[in-house]
Amino acid sequence: MNVATQPPVIELDNLVVKLGDRLILKKLTGSFSGRAVGLLGPNGAGKSTLINTLLGFHKPFSGTARVFGHDVRTHARQVRSLIGYMPENDSFIADMPGIRFVRMMAELSGLPPAEALERSHEAFFFTGLGEVRYRNIGTYSLGMKQMAKLAQAIAHGPRLLFLDEPTNGLDPPARLRMLQLIKEIRDRGDLHIIISSHLLRDVEECCDEVLILKNGNIAASCNLEAERRANRNFLEIETRGADESFVAHIEQLGCRAAWGGNGRIKLVMPEGLEVRRIYQLASDRSVQIRRLNRKRDSLEDIFLKAMEEPANGSV
């Protein structure tokens, strides 16, 4: 399949959305085709409104939004047949067993009953819910409900998944599992994901593109893959047995270095200097280098920078 002929997953063109009289999304423009796109932003920035608009729950006031080339305003039904949605809030039908619930949702999405049953079981297997699937959802723990929400979002085989705070309330093993599932889905390539989350680490781990909203505008949009490959001359090391004089010696090699306290040192290496020289220095002084990372702009830095700058509408 030729990538160039595929329409982008999400395409926004001067999208304006109003709720009542309030202007929420202000002329958003951009195009996203990544396998997993992270949607970030402070509370009130318009993330939920954007998702709800793409789902067709809000009509755009002006401008267009397209999902896989279909206009959300005129072809909402087509759009909805291609997506799966995992809402942030509790969403379920209390007196039904989990498997029946997912099956009904799959049938509502157009699957014939037999296939719906098969795929519901597959979805439950994929999310790791075993015997639990035969119990009423009302009795599920929070983690199970989250997994059930994920199961109903994927059972009908969508092409785009909207995950709104997928790790909300999950305890550490469940969080790990959810993130693993997301990465598995992402790595398949035929199902794109949009994740809206407040946890930058999660987004960093799972997404290759990021869209940051602020006050209804796009504050930043970047490709994390590209970021990761850049910035190779910044180092962060954690030492034991070193002190500030060590830093002075590093600077003598031509680096710019800063002592961060507790053995932490940040440094910028000049062109051509190898890390081995730092190790030589450490060896000569019996200093342990316990940690060494190439620092690149982490998502946190990108996010904080985006929050400081005034935002405009386009990428």
Binding site: L19, G20, S48, N52, L55, G56, F57, H58, R77, Q78, R80, S81, I83, G84, Y85, P87, N89, D90, S91, F92, I93, A94, D95, M96, R100, M104, M105, E107, L108, S109, G110, L111, P112, E115, R119, E122, A123, F125, F126, Q152, I154, H156, G157, R159, F162, E184, I185, R188, D190, L191
Partner: protein
């Protein structure tokens, strides 16, 4: 040999036709309902009256049986519009009870547990949702009202002959239309009440309350203002009047249907009854439109 890894796979198979999807809701609701024992018992219980009526029709035609019981044919109840109106009255009352029992459970839980976004994020519209839920009620209530009614009509026609049938076809229509008005009204009312009141028992109670309170209110208005227009909100009155007109009888003769009495001397023109009911239905639709949404917009 091969090792298969179970993982997510996309769906490339057959899809069901779009117009039929609302029926999925009906099917599932029906299956859920069947599991509740109380419902099954109640539903079967409502078939008692039609069976009794059927027996009545049969006995009336079976002279030998009559002689056996020592009753003269002429003194037995005549099978005419009054008979069917009475039948309708009883069955529609049972329908009211069943509706209060079943109706709230259809929409309230979805709203209480925020399931609407899940429905509406699919190629599934609000109209289809309401249609799916309503169909459940329409089918159920039909099974209690005009379907046994037409069966009784059919039985009578069979026993009386073709001429009777031709002369009384209007009765079949009256049964169907009269029931139809009532069940559509009930369905809309219970769906909209359960959309606004999230707790099932309260929604059921509210439905009951609406009828009796409205009736009481209507009578109070009549008494205080010395008028008859209070009857416009007396729902049983309205429906009774409409039935009588559908059976082509003058209003003054009264409906004869228990629970759906028309107040003597205070009859309201039939077209106003239609308008009044119609307005209530439109109001219910508006209520539904406000509440059945993918996302609540708070102003």
């Amino acid at each position: 040999m091969a090792v298969y890894k179970k993982t997510y796979r996309s769906y490339e198979g057959r899809m069901t036709p779009e117009w039929s999807r609302f029926f999925v809701l009906t099917r599932y609701a029906w299956e859920d309902l069947r599991r509740r024992r109380f419902f099954t018992i109640f539903f079967l219980g409502t078939m008692t009256w039609p069976i009794i009526c059927a027996l009545g029709i049969y006995i009336r035609h079976n002279l030998s049986a009559l002689e056996l019981m020592g009753i003269r044919a002429a003194s037995m109840v005549k099978i005419d519009s009054s008979f069917f109106l009475a039948f309708l009255g009883v069955q529609c009352m049972f329908a009211f009870f069943l509706n209060s029992f079943v109706g709230p459970g259809l929409v309230s839980p979805d709203l209480a547990n925020n399931a609407l976004p899940l429905y509406l994020s699919r190629p599934f519209s609000r109209t289809e949702y309401v249609l799916g839920r309503m169909s459940m009620l329409l089918i159920l209530l039909s099974l209690m009202t005009w379907i046994p009614g037409e069966f009784l009509f059919g039985l009578q026609s069979y026993l009386e002959g073709w001429d009777w049938f031709k002369a009384n076809v209007g009765l079949a229509w009256g049964l169907f239309a009269g029931s139809g008005v009532w069940i559509v009204f009930l369905a809309l009312l219970s769906l909209s009440v359960s959309a606004w009141v999230k707790w099932k028992p309260v929604a059921g109670g509210l439905l009951f309350g609406l009828f009796f309170v409205a009736a009481g209110f209507g009578q109070a208005i009549n008494a205080v203002l010395r008028t008859k227009w209070g009857n416009l909100i007396n729902i049983s009155n309205l429906v009774g009047s409409i039935w009588v007109s559908l059976f082509n009888k003058p209003l003054e003769s009264g409906s004869g249907a228990v629970f759906f009495r028309i107040a003597r001397g205070e009859e309201i023109p039939v077209w106003m009854c239609w308008v009044s009911l119609g307005l209530i239905c439109l109001f219910c639709l508006w209520l539904l439109g406000r509440k059945i949404r993918g996302v609540e917009v708070s102003r």
